[in-house]
Symmetry: C2
Subunit: 440 residues, 2 copies
């Protein structure tokens, strides 16, 4: 519980389908942290108990939703760049993870990731990584909305040994946070190629029984699809469809290499696609055909992926890149306009995570998850269209304030729930440890 708030904004964008930017609006937030009204500022209630916030040269809009990532890997930002996928994974990322990843690594990495995400406009993040209990705890303490998709993989790690142990530990995290307003927990089976069919079937059964979502890396590269066809005679999307996993609770991440039949199957199923343009480009995985997916009626959301393959968690940068990439690949400059890229980064993201009744747009009754972008700087002027400015010009650098469930987590560009100095110190310590391993 906190004070109610009245936020008076020069521009307000609710992010609901078909919404336009409104001028001089007031967003009212109740004691619980939910939106109680949006009204013309001239008609604002001016509740004496409400904290008054004035955003004279700002756009107030829904906080961004980063639908795919591995937050703790932020500690490996820039650790091994410009390498081919397999040497990158086998010679650098996996051995380093094997040596260093534990609950402390995850806590420190997630705090660093949240600091960056909050400062660049994200209010909800999805996370797939080991020790998800540490991630959930860190997010809960920082007051950030988080959907855990706990990993399930056919490889033993420090966190769990067998798929069954991954599942049972993951479900324990879900149980622990079942009453949390901020944390939701779903399945994160790693990929069709890293799990056997019985495990996938078990996940399908449990997800239906427990009404849980599923997030999975699917068809990230052409090579992955070719290998699957060689091994099984099926494309991975066909396998998921046959196993009953392709439905509205499924979040398919990456999806760069898609046939017409793949797209038709996903469209029929109601599954969601999570597009990670920076990661796909940086690892040369390919380009998700977002335009064709949207035309087929598929909901597409955005993710940064981990900082080791991006190298940041700036979802505004992903929205810009998604728009530019769609224009390039379709040879149509009108493809994926700024509004649509923002939708993918907000309400489209909430729909993918199954959280659109709670967040993703500014509507009465939803949580007040919102950000204020300051236009008072050279890179952001003049303002003909605040939305295209936010997407194409801002690079996430002008987010001045952020509220999650009505709680101010970023004030004048400074974090209020995380101690950034301490977070950075921990990052430097990890860097020193990890870099020293390379010298031995």
């Amino acid at each position: 519980m906190s004070n109610p708030k009245e936020i008076h904004a020069r521009w307000l964008y609710t992010g609901s389908a078909g919404a336009e930017v409104l001028e001089h609006q007031t967003l009212c937030i109740d004691e619980v942290g939910r939106i109680s009204a949006i009204v013309d500022s001239a008609d604002a209630p001016k509740n004496r108990d409400a904290e008054q916030v004035h955003l004279d040269n700002h756009l107030l809009m829904p906080g961004l939703i980063n639908c795919h990532g591995h937050s703790a890997m932020t500690l490996l930002r820039g650790y091994a760049d410009d390498l081919a996928l397999m040497p990158w994974l086998q010679d650098h990322i996996w051995p380093t993870e094997g040596r260093w990843v534990d609950a402390d690594f995850v806590t420190d990495g997630v705090n660093l990731a949240m600091a960056e995400m909050i400062k660049t406009g994200t209010t909800t993040f999805s996370d797939q990584y080991f020790f998800p209990d540490a991630t959930a705890k860190a997010a809960s303490e920082a007051g950030m909305r988080c959907q855990i998709n706990f990993p399930v993989i056919n490889v033993p790690t420090q966190w769990a040994q067998t798929p069954n142990e991954y599942i049972s530990k993951g479900l324990q995290v879900r149980e622990r946070y079942k009453n949390s307003a901020l944390i939701s927990v779903i399945f994160g089976p790693h990929a069709p190629y890293s799990l056997d069919e019985p495990t996938l079937q078990r996940i399908r059964t449990l997800s239906h029984e427990l009404d849980m979502g599923v997030q999975m890396h699917v068809q990230e590269t052409k090579t992955e699809v070719l290998h699957a066809v060689e091994l099984t005679g099926e494309r991975p999307i066909t396998t998921l469809d046959r196993l009953g996993l392709l439905d509205p609770s499924m979040q398919c991440v990456h999806m760069t290499s898609l046939s017409k039949d793949d797209i038709a199957r996903v469209a029929r199923s109601g599954a969601h696609v999570i597009h990670c343009p920076s990661s796909n480009m940086k690892l040369a995985s390919g380009a998700c055909p977002v335009h064709s997916l949207l035309k087929a009626g598929i909901n597409v959301a955005l993710g940064t992926d981990g900082a080791a393959s991006n190298n940041g968690l700036n979802l505004f940068a992903e929205a810009r890149l998604a728009a530019l990439l769609a224009k390039l690949t379709t040879e149509d400059p009108a493809a994926l306009p700024a509004e649509q890229a923002l939708y993918m980064a907000t309400l489209g993201g909430a729909r993918a995570l199954g959280l659109d009744h709670e967040t993703g747009s500014l509507e009465t009754g939803k949580w007040a998850d919102c950000i204020a972008i300051n236009f008072d700087s050279a890179a952001m002027q003049p303002v003909y269209n605040p939305l295209s400015q936010a997407v194409y010009a801002g690079h996430g650098a002008h987010v001045e304030a952020s509220w999650i469930a009505g709680r101010l987590v970023l004030k004048n560009g400074k974090l209020t729930t995380l101690d950034e100095t301490a977070v950075l110190q921990r990052a430097v310590q990890w860097r020193d440890k990890i870099a020293s391993q390379d010298l031995n």
Copy 2:
């Protein structure tokens, strides 16, 4: 003349070919603004008359060189987005320019552009726009290094009526700034399709006689090439080659649609290519085959293009996008590593503009054009590799200080030679005028 300076940096990158990041270095700047030495900080001269600058958690590196733009168009940032090229130009940009562009528009637009460029790490910019005298004056007053490529086009505008008038007015600007340490002036014939052969021949003759460079939009789109072949039987590169314009003084901008023969001709000629990935993607023009150009030994530099098609002037964003785009188009994650993208944004840019004896790298005798990137924030930690951090993670948002010819133009993130508040006010005034035209 100003005080000599000694800048002590945690990391220093000279940007010379093959350079590596050095730790704890001191850059010494003399009274004129040139680099007098680079030494280990332990051996720094500690000249009592020298201003001492300590950059404890920063990378000191060459300032970026934005090799293509139309700075004044920053006043049209976001004015007409997500449109096809011809409606964008014919229904929006050209009529608006026709109505509003004068020397005041250019002065105010260039000041806004420089404010953004300095804050995102650019110290030298190239500019092609009407009223280049206003651009040169504004750059000179702000202390920014600028290469004017004055426009020549077969279309009458407020600035000049005929190609000959464009040329004679442009040469007057050159004469006026011939002793300037900051301003250089070259030819900016708009494009092969917008000029007749006698004018191109005259420019070639004059550029040889006066030892002046030439910058031109060349083969920006597939359509442009097809039209040229239909009309003339030749590809534009062939025409330029036949006319003797393809030589080391030529800067070919965009170059998305290239045949093997085009690449071979450019390689043989020693001409430079200026790659503008954001603009090419946003306008769906195509992708410049940077990797093939580099393999052929062609020098490739980077440009933002105008803010109306980008929508910013952030060259770090271009360097990142150039790297990602090269990886995507070659299907090779090792293509265009961070160091090479930075080279294109610094020394490669200086070479393209013919200014590599003066700027582009930190070397004794060159002008002290350098920037300091602060790593003390969540998005920039931990630091395994300062260069890949600057390219992939920074988005140009962490430039804290900038010196041009030894003069501090950005201090703690604040402009020292431009009044940002006044610059923004002028931008708002132009926006109000221009937006009101749409209502009439």
